[in-house]
């Protein structure tokens, strides 16, 4: 995995409500997206300035998954987020 940091664009709003997952709203495009529990974990990690490696470790600490599985899941979501211009490399 590439050791780089990704961060949300400033016009993105993320919120999660108790037990309801999270929602991302892009104020530029006015598109909104729902994140599931693990997606929310990844997003919060990005908001906190964590590297992808950190996020993979956090995921493995919570869920019983192999490193490969966690890494692939995080990478897949990050690609989606990047392609929708919700996050950027810093």
């Amino acid at each position: 995995m590439v050791l780089s940091k990704l961060a949300p664009y400033k016009d993105i709003i993320y919120t999660d409500f108790q037990g309801n997952g999270g929602i991302l709203v892009d104020l530029n495009t006015k598109q909104y997206y729902q994140l599931n529990e693990t997606g929310s974990l990844v997003w919060r990690g990005l908001e906190n300035g964590n590297t992808l490696e950190d996020i993979v470790s956090q995921m493995r600490a919570i869920y019983e998954v192999t490193e490969e599985h966690a890494e692939a899941s995080v990478q897949k979501l990050v690609s989606h987020l990047e392609s929708r211009r919700l996050i950027q490399r810093t």
Binding site: T15, Q18, N20, I23, V25, N28, Y32, Q34
Partner: protein, 358 residues
Amino acid sequence: MSQANSLLRMSNLRRVEIAERLKFWFPIDAVIDDGRPAIEWMDLRDVNFNEPFFDETVTKAARERVITDLDMLLQLEKISDSLKPSAFIFHCSRCGSTLMANAFRALQGSIVMVEAPVLDKIASRFITDEPTNSTKELLYMLLLRSAVAALGQRRSGAEQHYIVKFGCTTTLQINRIRCIWPDVPFVFLYRNPVEVIVSNLSSKPQWMEFHSNPAAAAAIVGVEVAGLERLTAAEFCARGIGRFMNEANASDDERSRFVDYEELSSDKLIDTIRFCGIEPSPEEIDAIRGISRLYSKDPSRRRTFNADNESKKAAASEYVLEVAEKWAAPVYEQLKIKTEKGFQKERLVNGVIKTRAL
């Protein structure tokens, strides 16, 4: 197109710049503009919301209105300084909730928003769009949070308490609202259903005009739209208030307080304010006692309050008694028992505290 000015929507300003200009403006309504959901705003930075209802303040202010897209609520929430709600007031209609709001209004540095249309309209989307467990549900929750934040903007810097009273139909969304603000206490006011029905029949509120929005009306009383035609106004009302009471009852926990209209006194008002974590000063207590003697819905605050329980009951027809009994009386009785138990628990707790202090 609404009569309001759509200048901001059409202008080339960046959203952040529009949001900056909207600081201290208040969302006064959720409307459809050019076929799209939108928010209507008014600059009310110097206005005290002293009238019993939000709409009355807006009408009195009579200022320029501007319209923006819905998402401006989210943008404003990002940059504005707002109070977190101190308490929510829910109610079953015509049950003393306006008096409760007025009592909160007597507190120095309080913002009290009473039945702001923007909140109840966003909440009603949960009913009409049935978005349970969907992205849309989260979006409406987010919009509701932003609208509450916009109405709770700090203006003078002296604001300390922020109370939101919703319209009675929003009681059906109490679970979602508590999901957004799990730590905020709520008060639910209720009253003998016969009296509530008689009051609503003699002066019909908007939520009972079920032909104006059949989908919402049907959802409020839990019937199919086609079934609405078979309901009399009295049955519609009885079913509605029964559902409001049931929904509130199901949300009862340590952060909820149920207040029966019959026991609504100045002491009860003060006690309820304390339950919400606010200790009124002696001057504020005097003001609350004064307010409790007045008719709560009189903006001039001159008319004195006269209890009308008996006259309401006497005015009820056999049919009203029947529908009240069928659709709302059982849960009303449950709430009364709950309230009485709550009192006994409080007395016990107070006793224990006193013993320890001695």
